[in-house]
Structures are given as structure tokens and as C-alpha cells.
């Protein structure tokens, strides 16, 4: 995957960097990622597709539309491969998508929409969905194994409340795991059915936040699992991901709702953890200041 800085992408398109940023605001394309220093990084494939489309276009909008259509071809070819039960061709289609996009965007813009489309078109009890869901789960796990080791001092435990591999939430939960791992977090994913021995797992993993993901398991089962985790690790923030229509109820318990998109959810998780760590640092600093003040006061009193 080749990335371009704003100035490089602007030079390739023969426009100014300001124009490129204006296009991003107005058309949402090309859509950059951010470097660790928050600078824009454009994928070469998108910029090249737009450059070619501009040569043949009548307006920027129509050129953007044409460039997007070209990139959407990856999704169509993946659908075609999966409904034909051709795993190798599906691997090739996602590889083609990866040539133009990052892993995160390939998953969000090609893999997950493809799986959703197959579920919508053929239904959850179809062989096509069974094959596609299995292939998607395998691919996401393989990508997770290839991710670099964790670099952040951040750890999360995911309580998987999806039914099984055929649950429509399952690929999205795997995608969230993958994005968190790729963002440098330590991730432990467990079924929310398994309560026995959860204390040991939590004691070893020391999570900063617990995520309840998936909408299949009943509230009681999920609550029992969350209670067991809190009992073992103490009070800690809990976030909920793709847990259906429980938005209203969760709002009253102080639990954070994560956005349904995996990359948005991963960013929100990092924000929650950062806020929690900041609060902890402030609490420690104020406790230290209070202790110093009281010990200083004691010394003055003794003098």
C-alpha cells in the first residue's frame, strides 16, 4: 500500500493542497487517513483513480463519482466470488482492494458491505451466507494474526454476545478486534456465555475497558458476565457495541454506546480510555498534592 502526503497527492492531481482539502470537505473524496502526527495520508490508488477520472469528466462531482464506481468494482467482484463459492477468487478480490486502500478501509468499504449484501440478498439460512461468513471470519482472523504486536499500554476485553459465526454482528465484532489490534491495543475476546474462571482471565489481562459486543445473547446472560468481570477487576468503564435496540436502557447506566462502524468504534474506544487515564492521572496528582500540602502543613505546625 502506497500512501501520499497532501502535497504529493496535490502534485499528482495538478492542484493546490488547499484545493485538495476543499474537495475532501465538499465531496468526501479522496478520503485520507491520518498519520500518528495527524497529517493526511492519501492512498495512491484513490488519487490515481481520481486523476484518470478528471481527464474524462465534465465536473469534479462526476469525476469523483466515476472514481468511486471504479473502486466499488472490488466489492462487486468479491460478492461474485463468494456467491460462486470460490474462496481463492475472493482472496484475490480482497487483495485487489488492499492494493488501493488500507486494511481498515478495505474491511469497512469492501469486506463488511459485501457480507451485508450477501446476507440481505440470500438470507441468514442460505449456503451462500454460510460460506461468506466463514470466509470473512477466517480472513479477519488471519489479518489479526498478521498485525504487529501491541505497542500501547492499553488493554480491552470484548465480551462476544453474538450467536455464532453466522450472526450478522460477528464479522463486525471481528473487524473491531482487528482494528483495535492494529491500533496497538491488547485485545482479549471471550464469549459472554463463559462466566466460570473469568476472574483469572481478567487478572492476567488487566483491561482498561470492557466491551459488550453483539445483540444475540439475552440481557441477563450479558449482565452476569459483566458482573463477573467487574467483581474480578473492580469498577471499570463498559462500552456496548452493536447491541441492538438497547440504546435507551444503556444511556441510564453510564455505559458508553460505541458507533456501529468498526473504525469509528475503535476511535471512540481510544477516546474513552484516554479520558479514563487522564482522570486517573489527575486523581493521582491531586492526591499527591493534597498529601504534600498536609505533610507540609504538619511540618510547619511542628516547627
Amino acid at each position: 500500500m502506497r500512501y501520499l502526503k497532501t502535497s504529493e497527492a496535490a502534485a499528482l492531481l495538478n492542484v493546490s493542497p488547499n484545493t485538495l482539502r476543499a474537495w475532501e470537505r465538499r465531496f468526501g473524496f479522496p478520503k485520507p487517513q491520518r498519520s500518528p502526527g495527524k497529517h493526511r495520508l492519501f492512498t495512491h490508488g484513490e488519487v490515481a483513480a481520481l486523476r484518470d477520472a478528471l481527464q474524462e469528466g465534465l465536473s469534479i462531482s462526476s469525476a469523483v463519482s466515476r472514481a468511486r464506481e471504479g473502486l466499488a468494482a472490488d466489492s462487486n467482484s468479491l460478492v461474485g466470488a463468494l456467491v460462486s463459492y470460490e474462496g481463492e477468487r475472493a482472496d484475490g478480490a480482497i487483495e485487489a482492494a488492499l492494493a488501493l486502500r488500507s486494511v481498515e478501509r478495505s474491511v469497512e468499504e469492501v469486506l463488511l458491505p459485501t457480507l451485508d449484501e450477501i446476507y440481505r440478498r440470500y438470507g441468514g439460512d442460505s449456503a451462500a451466507w454460510a460460506f461468506a461468513a466463514h470466509w470473512g471470519a477466517n480472513w479477519l482472523r488471519r489479518a489479526q494474526r498478521l498485525a504487529p504486536p501491541p505497542v500501547r499500554p492499553v488493554s480491552i476485553v470484548i465480551g462476544d454476545a453474538s450467536r455464532d459465526e453466522l450472526d450478522t454482528d460477528a464479522p463486525h465484532i471481528r473487524a473491531l478486534e482487528l482494528f483495535c489490534v492494529r491500533a496497538g491495543m491488547k485485545v482479549l475476546s471471550l464469549s459472554a456465555r463463559g462466566v466460570s474462571g473469568i476472574g483469572d482471565a481478567v487478572a492476567i489481562h488487566q483491561p482498561n475497558i470492557v466491551v459488550l459486543a453483539g445483540g444475540h445473547l439475552a440481557d441477563d446472560t450479558v449482565a452476569r458476565w459483566a458482573y463477573a468481570v467487574r467483581l474480578a477487576a473492580g469498577a471499570m468503564p463498559v462500552a456496548v457495541y452493536r447491541r441492538g435496540d438497547q440504546r435507551v436502557r444503556m444511556r441510564t447506566t453510564g455505559t458508553s454506546m460505541l458507533p456501529s462502524g468498526a473504525s469509528d468504534a475503535q476511535r471512540r474506544l481510544l477516546e474513552l480510555i484516554d479520558a479514563e487515564q487522564d482522570a486517573a492521572r489527575i486523581a493521582v496528582a491531586s492526591a499527591r498534592a493534597h498529601r504534600d500540602a498536609s505533610s507540609g502543613g504538619g511540618q510547619r505546625a511542628s516547627m
Binding site: N18, T19, A22, R26, F27, Q55, G57, L58, S59, S61
Partner: protein, 166 residues
């Protein structure tokens, strides 16, 4: 041989001049703001002034002036460009309007007009590259009681129909 040709009495294919004189000079304009660039920069088609449009060409007598409302349509009557002024006039946004059929934005005021006065015919001819401008009265699809005079002519590249609101 010559006798045989004369005996067939069939017309021979030949290049004939356009029925409409094409002596008007061509000018460049931005597909978004309508500004005519001072000099043609062949290295980039993007408008230097606004950065939001591509530079197109049309005959000087039909090309829009800066700030004029206009649309660009292709041969299948799909919207390809909406100028900034046309966005205000038609209460739409180019990003929403592009690739939609023109009838979702405009319809002919006289639905029974024939020939060049018919919106679809005029656009199709212009998008085919036929010379000359045609005048058609239209109305916004979602608004009654409003009449808008337009001039429709060819523009490009690639060849398309330019609909300028007078």
C-alpha cells in the same frame, strides 16, 4: 464506370457543412463558477479560481458568464455538472444532482413542444455535438408557475450539452 454510377441514381455519402454556421470562437469556462480563465493551462483542467470545477469549452455566444446558472448534461440526459449559481436557483447540490436524470431537476414548460423546442431533443442534439444554440423554456420539476428560459448548446470535452439559464 461513370455511366454505371449515374445509372444507379443513388446519392453518394459526402461530408457536408453543418446547417448552422459555426464561426463563433470557442471560449473556456469553469463548470462550477463559470469564470473564463485568462489563459488556457493545458496541464490542468481544474479551475484556478474556485478549484471546484473543470474547464470546459463552448462557443462564445452560448458560453455562460461568471456567476451564470447552468447545467451540463450528457447524451443520456444525466446531470454531469451544476454550477454554483444553478445550485442556488434549483435549490440543489451538485453532489446530489450528478448522475440523476435531468427530469428530476427540470421539465419542459411546454410538454408537447416538438423538434428543437423540446428539451430532450435539444439536449440530445447538443450532447451529440451538433452546432448552434437552441432555446427552450423549462420549469423546475418541483415548482409550478415558474418559467426559465434556457439556451442549449454543445460543450466539452467530452462532448456534452450545456444548458444556460438566461
Amino acid at each position: 464506370m461513370i455511366e454505371a454510377r449515374s445509372n444507379t441514381r443513388r446519392g453518394l455519402l459526402a461530408v457536408v457543412p453543418d446547417t448552422v454556421p459555426d464561426d463563433s470562437p470557442r471560449v473556456s469556462f469553469c463548470s462550477h463558477c463559470g469564470i473564463r480563465p485568462a489563459f488556457a493551462d493545458i496541464s490542468s483542467r481544474v479551475c484556478d479560481s474556485c478549484g471546484m470545477g473543470l474547464i470546459l469549452q463552448s462557443h462564445a455566444d452560448v458560453a455562460p458568464a461568471a456567476g451564470d446558472p447552468f447545467l451540463v448534461l450528457d447524451g443520456s440526459l444525466s446531470v454531469c455538472a451544476v454550477s454554483a449559481a444553478a445550485e442556488n436557483l434549483l435549490a440543489t447540490c451538485e453532489t446530489d444532482a450528478v448522475n440523476r436524470h435531468v427530469t428530476e431537476l427540470l421539465v419542459a414548460a411546454d410538454a408537447e413542444a416538438q423538434g428543437a423546442a423540446n428539451l430532450a431533443v435539444a439536449v440530445t442534439w447538443a450532447a451529440r455535438g451538433d452546432g448552434g444554440a437552441r432555446r427552450v423554456v423549462v420549469r423546475p420539476t418541483n415548482t409550478f408557475g415558474v418559467r426559465l428560459k434556457t439556451r442549449i448548446a454543445s460543450c466539452g470535452p467530452p462532448t456534452a450539452a450545456l444548458v444556460v439559464f438566461d
